[in-house]
């Protein structure tokens, strides 16, 4: 197993080097001095800023410098757009805010969609199944933006108007709810619950279809026939025999989404003005804030690669038929 892990890690070194190089190249198409100095800057000012940002070094030197920082885990460089805040400080303050939305979303969405999928698979081919699957396709076809806009309108804006029924949700914003001086757990309901609900509704369509397909495939297997021949009841077959085996692809899918938790849900964060990682990233990209984007991608890609390898290893541990080769 250790040989497998080491081999996989080595195989992913070029991938890691590649994504950082591609990202740095794509970022450097724009001239950041323009953003920070404006149109009327003199050539001299621009040159000086470029030198202080280290942008007039050859690309290889800049690349090496970034890699050096990543491998020594040195994220103390200041952000360009928010002077005085280090990249580390930005990530440390933003990632927990993203997680306080993405983790509940993932948990709730997974549980709810496994249950819906079980119901659909139980009634396979009959009206409840068909209705649920039609609803899933309908839900998938509505744009994420529409959910966000109307979710905020009907969840937070309309009930808050004079004569409305009142709402616990804030229209936009974020306050700490777990850590920090003025943390109040109720803040989670006020600021995070509506985004979480919207995120759940958006993902449920996709997840339900996937889980149902997995379960339907599982019900065609021999061990189900055996269980039926032995006289096990249908609910027992569905919830005990089948669900256990269907868990493997389900866990694989959930594992694959884990690294994406730290990105946060970009659209939700931007629209609800939650200062999470997604929001910071988009404003960093639009503000030519190279250090933030580069550091985030370096961290994310590392997470991603490690989680892919871990998934393979866990897979082999759980299922003895799978060999790591």
């Amino acid at each position: 197993m250790w040989a497998f892990i080491v081999r996989k890690l080595l195989y992913n070194v070029p991938v890691y080097l590649g994504i950082i190089a591609i990202l740095m190249l794509a970022l450097r198409v724009n001239d950041p001095t323009y953003t920070f100095l404006g149109k009327n800057a003199t050539k001299d000012q621009q040159d000086r800023l470029r030198t202080s940002m280290g942008l007039d070094d050859p690309f290889a030197v800049q690349y090496g410098r970034l890699l050096g920082k990543v491998f020594t885990l040195d994220f103390s460089e200041d952000s360009w757009a928010q002077p005085g805040r280090s990249v580390r400080a930005i990530m440390i303050s933003a990632i927990p805010k993203s997680l306080s939305i993405t983790i509940p979303t993932l948990i709730i969405a997974t549980f709810v969609s496994i249950w819906i999928a079980l119901v659909a698979a139980y009634f396979r081919g009959r009206p409840p199944d068909k209705t649920l699957m039609i609803l899933a396709v309908l839900g998938m076809s509505i744009s994420y933006l529409v959910y966000i806009l109307f979710g905020q309108f009907f969840g937070a804006f309309l009930p808050d108007q004079p004569g409305g029924i009142g709402t616990p949700f804030a229209i936009t914003g974020y306050e700490p709810w777990l850590l920090g001086e003025h943390a109040d757990p109720w803040n989670w309901v006020t600021y995070c619950m509506l985004p979480v609900l919207i995120g759940v509704i958006v993902t449920i369509g996709y997840d339900t279809r996937f889980y149902r397909a997995v379960m339907v495939e599982e019900t065609g297997k021999d061990y189900i026939v055996t269980a039926m021949a032995k006289g096990a009841t249908k609910p027992k077959i569905m919830f005990v025999h089948m669900l256990k085996n269907a868990m493997i692809p389900i866990i694989t899918r959930v594992m694959a989404t884990l690294p994406f938790l730290i990105t946060g849900s970009i659209l939700v964060e931007v629209y609800f003005k939650i200062p999470g990682m997604g929001n910071e990233l988009i404003s960093a990209i639009k503000g030519n804030d190279f250090p933030v984007v580069q550091a985030f991608v370096a961290v994310f890609a590392a997470f991603f690669i490690v989680s892919v390898i871990l998934t393979d290893v866990l897979y082999a541990l759980v299922d003895p038929r799978v060999r790591l080769s």
Partner: protein
């Protein structure tokens, strides 16, 4: 190649799926609109820029309140016609030109001698003035009633003297019929003024009437442009982005995936390196970075002079990002096909390897190319909207994303027409494609799990 496809079992299974056939019909309708707009120029960006109504006029389903109608009339009289009709109209040689410029879409100022136009215009202004005065009176009367009601409520709750409440109630009983009468007068005066407006700017008849009806049936956006023109023109933008991105991704993905799967070795290693590299960063971040490369460029971010080139950033960003999935799928399928007997037979006959790939292997992945095409088409349309919303996509020209982005604040004024029209049209197209790609998957790739 299509004859073989038509005789396959998958094709028969697909055409027997009634839902998929209906969805194909819907896609056909959208395609027809796309061709009409793109090839025949039925709607243009200039049409979308033209003002046709006062700002934020609701569509045909929603009945406007009297106050809104009055505000709309005031807009016609004070802003639009007030600046469009010159006072020296009778003596100007280019009087007709000046009047033509005052048109709102197909709705023009009456084709009559300048004296007659001025007469109607004076009549309209007089009637509007009368309505305006009545409106002020009405407002005063209704405010007074409101005040008295508040006082009554206050006195009652603080246990004030009974006789005072009684006298206030009497006063209220006197004022209320007066206000009702004022309101009736105001409404009839408003109707008269509106009739005067219609006389000056008659509703277009015949073909022009149909065109005007189309332009106004979904109302107008925050600057008075037609929502329906925007929403239907956006079909062209969506198709353009969907077709270009899906075609590019299917071509790139198939070429690289087939090469990787068939030749193996360093080609496979290189392609898989690219695939894993591009998937190790969230795709929306990659899309944002790639499309931001073009932002601020004179050539690629200039919706006024070069609107078509603004779409290039979306093509590039999505084209470089989305081929990855197709390449993975095709590679897997090609690796499976590579060891089949007919490929060995072709090798034994002595065909060259590139020939075998093009002639014998790629045609057997057509079903996957179709499925991926329809999936990518949906992804492109959805992500155009998302990128435009983040300010990295289309702006300054019609597109569903730009419409939703521009009108998101209108929701708090209870104006849903812009967001609603864009969402409904987009929903129809995406739903139809979802159904078709599901049916394609069922028919041609039944072993696939979601």
């Amino acid at each position: 190649m299509f004859a073989r496809l038509r005789n396959s079992r998958g094709y028969r299974k697909f055409t027997r799926n009634r839902g998929a056939m209906v969805a194909l019909g819907v896609i056909g309708a959208y395609t027809a609109i796309f061709i009409l707009v793109w090839f025949f120029g039925v709607l243009t960006r200039a049409d979308a820029r033209e003002r046709v109504l006062p700002r934020n006029t609701p569509g045909w389903l929603e009945k406007q309140s009297v106050e809104d109608r009055f505000n709309a009339l005031t807009w016609y009289v004070e802003s639009h016609l007030g600046s469009a009709i010159p006072s020296d109209l009778a003596t100007r040689p280019d009087a007709q030109d000046a009047l033509r410029r005052a048109a709102l879409g197909e709705r023009r100022i009456i084709d009559a001698p300048p004296e007659r136009v001025l007469e109607l215009w004076a009549d309209l202004r007089a009637k509007h003035k009368e309505t305006d005065d009545l409106f002020l009176d009405l407002e005063d009367a209704e405010n007074e009633i409101l005040d008295i009601r508040l006082i009554i409520a206050d006195t009652t709750s603080s246990g004030g003297p009974e006789d005072e409440i009684a006298s206030l109630r009497e006063e209220l009983a006197e004022l209320e019929p007066e206000a009702a009468q004022l309101r009736a007068e105001f409404e009839s005066s408003l109707a008269g003024a509106e009739a005067a407006l219609t006389e000056l700017m008659p509703m277009p008849k015949g073909w022009a009437g149909i065109v005007y009806g189309f332009r106004t049936f979904l109302g107008s956006n925050a600057i008075g442009q037609s929502i329906s023109v925007h929403a239907f023109y956006s079909i062209k933008i969506a198709f353009q982005i969907g077709l270009v991105v899906a075609t590019a991704c299917v071509v790139i993905g198939t070429a690289l995936g087939a090469a990787a799967g068939f030749f193996g070795g360093w080609i496979d290693a290189l392609v898989m390196w690219l695939v894993s590299t591009l998937s190790s960063v969230p795709y929306l971040v990659l899309l944002a970075v790639l499309s931001f490369m073009f932002t601020g460029s004179q050539l690629f971010d200039n919706p006024v002079d070069r609107p078509e080139l603004q779409l290039v950033k979306l093509y590039v960003a999505m084209g470089l990002t989305f081929w990855v999935g197709t390449a993975r799928v095709i590679r897997g399928e090609v690796m499976k096909i590579r060891s089949l007997e007919y490929v060995q037979a072709a090798t034994a006959i002595g065909f060259s390897r590139p020939y075998i790939v093009v002639r014998h292997i790629i045609p057997n992945t057509f079903h996957l190319m179709f499925i991926n095409f329809s999936l990518l088409f949906i992804a492109a349309i959805k992500n155009e909207v998302i990128l435009s919303f983040l300010g990295l996509g289309v702006s300054g020209q019609p597109s569903w994303g730009a419409m939703i982005n521009d009108a998101k604040d209108d929701l708090t004024n209870y104006f849903f027409w812009t967001v609603g029209s864009a969402s409904v049209l987009m929903f129809g197209l995406v739903l139809a494609f979802n159904i078709v790609s599901d049916a394609l998957q069922d028919a041609f790739d039944p072993k696939h799990v979601a």
